[in-house]
C-alpha cells in the first residue's frame, strides 16, 4: 500500500494544471466559480482548445483520438479540470455516444461521427428518459417503425439536457413492440434539425432552462442511423451508463466549492466577526471536508484497482461514488447558503454583467442550491443506486 503519486504522475499534474492556467478563458472560469450558466459559445470554444491539445476525448482508444493515459492520469486530469475549474467535456458526446459508436458502430459511422464529436462540430443530446419512463427506463414508448429505407420515429423524450443547443440526438426507440420490455429497443441517432423534431424548454426551480422536452412527430431517419444491431439497444444503453464510474463522484467540483466556502466565510460577518470564526460553522465545514476526504480515498481505491487489474470487474466500492458524491455536492451548496444567510433571497437582479460587483457573488448561490437537488436524482437516482448495491454487492 502506498498513497504517493509517482514522480511522473506529479509532473503530469503540473503539466495539466499549467495548461489550464494558460488556456482556460478567465471569464469562463469566473462564471463556473460563481455557479453561472455558460453560453454555448463559451463551452464550445473551450472544448475546441482542449481538442486541439489532444485532450478532448482523452479516455477514447488511441486510434480514435484518445491519449492512452493510465487510469491514474485520467483521475488526475479530471480532478484538475473540476477543481480549476474548467468546463468538463460534453458528456453526451464524449462519454456516452462516442464509446457506443466506437464499440458497436460500423466503420462508416465511426468515420462520420467520431471526429465531429471530438471537436464538438456536432452537439449531442441524450434521448433516454420519457414522461412515463424515469427509473423504469425500459418501459419507454417512443417508436421507430421501419418504412422502406427509413425509420419513422414518433414519441416524446424528456429531461433532455441542453437539447436547445443540440445538432444530434442518440435515442432509445422501441422497434419491436411485441418483444419483452428490454428486448425490443434499438439505439438510433439522428439530426435534431430533422423535420418533425420539436424542442420545448422546461424551466427548473432554479430559474434555468437546461433541460427540455423533445417531441418526435413522424421524424424520418435514414435506416443506416441504427447503431449496432436492431433490438439490442438496451445492451448498449447499459454499456453507456456503466462507462463513467469514477468521474461521477465529482471530488474536484466539491473541493473547489469547499475552497470557495472557506474564502467567503472569512469575508462574510456574523456576530461582528467572520463566520469562519464561528465554531459551529467550522465543525460543519470540517465534517463535510472529512466526508469528501473519505470519498476521495474511495475513488482512489477504485482508480488504483482499475489501473492495476483493468476495468473488467468493477470494484464494489465504485457504487459508493454516486451516492456519496451527490450527497457531498449537495452539502457544499447548503453550506454556501448558510454563509450567505439573508442575502440568499434576491433573485438574479444583477444579470451576468457584473453591474453590482459587491453583491455579484451572491446571485447564483440559492439557484445553485436548488439546482443541485438534481444530482441525487439523475444518472440513476440514489435510491436506484441502493437497489444496485443491495442486489449486485450484497446479494439481496
Amino acid at each position: 500500500m502506498d498513497l504517493a503519486f509517482t514522480k511522473e504522475e506529479q509532473a503530469f499534474r503540473e503539466e495539466v494544471r499549467s495548461f489550464f492556467r494558460d488556456n482556460v478563458p478567465p471569464d469562463t472560469r469566473r462564471k463556473l466559480v460563481e455557479g453561472r450558466h455558460l453560453s454555448k459559445d463559451e463551452m464550445v470554444t473551450w472544448w475546441r482548445i482542449l481538442n486541439k491539445k489532444g485532450w478532448g476525448v482523452s479516455h477514447w482508444p488511441k486510434q480514435y483520438g484518445g491519449t492512452g493515459w493510465t487510469s491514474v492520469q485520467h483521475y488526475i486530469f479530471n480532478e484538475e479540470l473540476q477543481s480549476y475549474p474548467a468546463p468538463q467535456p460534453l458528456a453526451f458526446g464524449v462519454s456516452m455516444v462516442g464509446p457506443v459508436i466506437y464499440t458497436f458502430g460500423n466503420e462508416e459511422q465511426k468515420k462520420q461521427y467520431l471526429p465531429r464529436i471530438a471537436n464538438v462540430d456536432d452537439w449531442w443530446c441524450q434521448g433516454f428518459s420519457e414522461p412515463g419512463s424515469g427509473s423504469d427506463l425500459a418501459s419507454l414508448k417512443t417508436k421507430a417503425e421501419r418504412r422502406g429505407d427509413k425509420w419513422i420515429i414518433n414519441g416524446q423524450k424528456t429531461w433532455t439536457t441542453l437539447a436547445q443547443h443540440a445538432d444530434m440526438i442518440f435515442c432509445l426507440c422501441r422497434t419491436d413492440p411485441s418483444a419483452k420490455k428490454q428486448m425490443g429497443i434499438s439505439f438510433i441517432v439522428f439530426s435534431m434539425k430533422s423535420k418533425g423534431v420539436t424542442v420545448r424548454p422546461i424551466q427548473t426551480i432554479d430559474g434555468g432552462a437546461e433541460v427540455n422536452e423533445v417531441f418526435f412527430d413522424d421524424v424520418e431517419v435514414p435506416i443506416e442511423n441504427l447503431i449496432g444491431e436492431e433490438n439490442k439497444g438496451w445492451d448498449y444503453a447499459k454499456f453507456l451508463l456503466g462507462n463513467e464510474r469514477t468521474g461521477i463522484a465529482r471530488v474536484g467540483v466539491s473541493k473547489e466549492r469547499l475552497r470557495r466556502i472557506r474564502d467567503l466565510a472569512s469575508k462574510v460577518e456574523s456576530g461582528g466577526k467572520p463566520i469562519i470564526q464561528d465554531a459551529a460553522f467550522r465543525d460543519k465545514l470540517a465534517a463535510c471536508e472529512i466526508e469528501l476526504k473519505a470519498l476521495e480515498l474511495t475513488q482512489l481505491r477504485v482508480v488504483a484497482d482499475e489501473s492495476k487489474h483493468g476495468k473488467g470487474k468493477p470494484n464494489p466500492a465504485s457504487s459508493v461514488l454516486k451516492i456519496k458524491g451527490s450527497e457531498i455536492q449537495q452539502t457544499t451548496t447548503e453550506l454556501l447558503m448558510e454563509v450567505i444567510g439573508p442575502f440568499a433571497a434576491p433573485y438574479d437582479v444583477h444579470g451576468d454583467d457584473g453591474s453590482n460587483e459587491a453583491m455579484d457573488w451572491t446571485a447564483q448561490i440559492a439557484p445553485s442550491y436548488f439546482n443541485n437537488r438534481k444530482v441525487s436524482i439523475y444518472g440513476g437516482s440514489n435510491e436506484i443506486q441502493r437497489n444496485i448495491i443491495a442486489k449486485a454487492v450484497l446479494g439481496l
Partner: protein, 380 residues
C-alpha cells in the same frame, strides 16, 4: 499509488484469519471470557507462535519489522473475530512507547517478554477529569534521588488487571493542563503503593482503576524525556487510534455480513425480510458507511508514517471522525435489522455493536476529533 497488499502481507492476513477461524468462534470467545483476567493465555500463546506479538518490533530487537499496514491487517482480523486479548494495550501501545522512546536497556528488559507472549502491558493515561486531552495530567512524578515517586489516580486502564508492567503518564513539572512537563514511566504492576480495582468493561474486555500512592521507581523507569514527552504520547496514541480504526473496520465488515445473512434467512409474511426494499436500502447504506470507513482506515494507516506530526494527527483525527460516524450507523442498524434477536446477549451481533460503541469513545470521540480538524484549518 497502490491499495493492494503485497505478497507477504497477503500471507500475514491468511495466517491470522486462519488462526482465528480455527480458535475464535463465538462460543470459544465466551469460554475465554471466563478465564482469569478475561482472555485466553492459550490464544495469546498462538499469536506469539505465529510471530504476531513481535510484528512491529525491529529485527534487531527480536521482532519482525512490520509497519503500519501489517498492524492494520492484524487489527482488522482481531476486530472481525471480536478478540479479547490485549493486543492493542501490549503490542500497539506498549510496543509503540518502547520502539519510539525505549533505551536499549529498556527494550532488552521488556521486548522479549512481549514477543514470546510471557508479558503483557497496559497504558495508564486516563484521569478523572482529563477526558480526551492527553496533556491534561495531574498524576505527579516527583524526583527522588535518581528515580521518581509517582502519585495519582488512573482510570479505565485496559488490561490493567493482568498487565505485568504499566506505562504511566505523569507530570514532572508545571500545572494541570500545561503541555510541557509530562513524562512517561514504566512501572511494575506489583510496585509497592499501587492498588487496583478491576472490572469487566461493557464490551467484554477487562480494565482497572489504579491508584498510585508514593510509588517509587528507578532512574531507568522514564521512557524518553521525563520533562517533555507529550509529542511521544501523541504519536503513540495516534498509532492506537489508527489501530482502533482498523479494528472497527473488521467489526463493521463482520456486522454487515452477519446482518445480510440474517435478513436473507429470516422470514416474515412468507418471504425473507431481505426482499423488502426498506431493509435493502438500509443494508446498502451500511455498505457505503463501511467502505468510507475502510478508505479512511487505509488513509490513517498511511498517515502514520507522515514526517510532519501536525499533518499526521490531522489525518488520524479525520479518520477517527469517519470511523466514529460509520460505526455508529452500522452498529445501530445491525441491531435494528436483526430485530428482537439483536437485543439478546445470546446473539453475537450485539457484542459487535458494544465493541464498536466503546471504540467511538476511546482516545477521542467523533465530536472531539471533528473539532480538532476544524480548529486545525480543515483538510482541503
Amino acid at each position: 499509488m497502490d491499495f493492494d497488499l503485497n505478497e507477504e502481507q497477503r500471507l500475514l492476513k491468511e495466517s491470522i484469519d486462519g488462526l482465528l477461524t480455527d480458535s475464535y468462534d463465538f462460543e470459544s470467545r465466551k469460554k475465554y471470557m471466563k478465564e482469569k483476567g478475561g482472555w485466553s493465555k492459550a490464544v495469546w500463546g498462538k499469536l506469539a507462535e505465529q510471530g504476531l506479538l513481535g510484528l512491529p518490533f525491529s529485527e534487531a530487537d527480536g521482532g519482525f519489522g512490520g509497519g503500519g499496514v501489517e498492524t492494520m491487517i492484524v487489527m482488522e482480523a482481531l476486530g472481525k473475530a471480536l478478540v479479547l486479548e490485549p493486543y492493542l494495550a501490549t503490542v500497539v501501545i506498549g510496543g509503540g512507547f518502547l520502539r519510539h522512546a525505549g533505551s536499549d536497556a529498556q527494550k532488552a528488559a521488556h521486548v522479549p517478554g512481549i514477543v514470546d507472549g510471557s508479558k503483557t502491558l497496559a497504558f495508564a493515561q486516563l484521569e478523572k477529569n482529563s477526558r480526551y486531552d492527553l496533556f491534561d495530567v495531574t498524576t505527579t512524578a516527583k524526583k527522588k534521588g535518581e528515580g521518581w515517586v509517582i502519585d495519582g489516580e488512573k482510570f479505565v486502564v485496559l488490561n490493567g488487571e493482568n498487565a505485568d508492567t504499566l506505562i504511566v503518564t505523569a507530570r514532572t513539572r508545571g500545572e494541570r493542563r500545561d503541555k510541557s512537563g509530562i513524562g512517561v514511566f514504566l512501572v511494575p504492576a506489583n510496585a509497592k503503593g499501587l492498588t487496583k480495582k478491576s472490572y469487566p468493561t461493557q464490551d467484554g474486555l477487562h480494565a482497572a482503576d489504579i491508584t498510585f500512592t508514593g510509588v517509587e521507581v528507578g532512574a531507568d523507569a522514564a521512557l524518553g524525556n521525563p520533562d517533555d514527552s507529550l509529542a511521544l504520547i501523541e504519536r503513540v496514541v495516534d498509532e492506537a487510534r489508527i489501530a482502533l480504526c482498523a479494528e472497527a473496520v473488521g467489526l463493521m465488515d463482520e456486522s454487515l455480513k452477519t446482518t445480510v445473512e440474517y435478513i436473507k434467512t429470516r422470514k416474515q409474511f412468507g418471504v425473507p425480510i431481505g426482499t423488502f426494499q426498506s431493509l435493502q436500502h438500509r443494508a446498502a447504506d451500511m455498505f457505503v458507511a463501511t467502505e468510507q470507513a475502510r478508505s479512511m482506515s487505509m488513509f490513517a494507516t498511511m498517515a502514520g508514517d507522515f514526517e510532519d506530526a501536525k499533518e499526521r494527527s490531522n489525518a488520524v483525527a479525520a479518520a477517527k471522525v469517519q470511523i466514529g460516524k460509520s460505526l455508529k450507523f452500522v452498529g445501530q442498524q445491525a441491531i435494528q435489522l436483526h430485530g428482537g434477536i439483536g437485543m439478546t446477549m445470546e446473539a453475537k451481533i450485539g457484542h459487535y455493536f458494544k465493541r464498536l460503541t466503546m471504540i467511538e469513545n476511546s482516545f477521542g470521540d467523533t465530536d472531539y476529533h471533528q473539532r480538532r480538524v476544524a480548529d486545525g484549518g480543515g483538510l482541503i
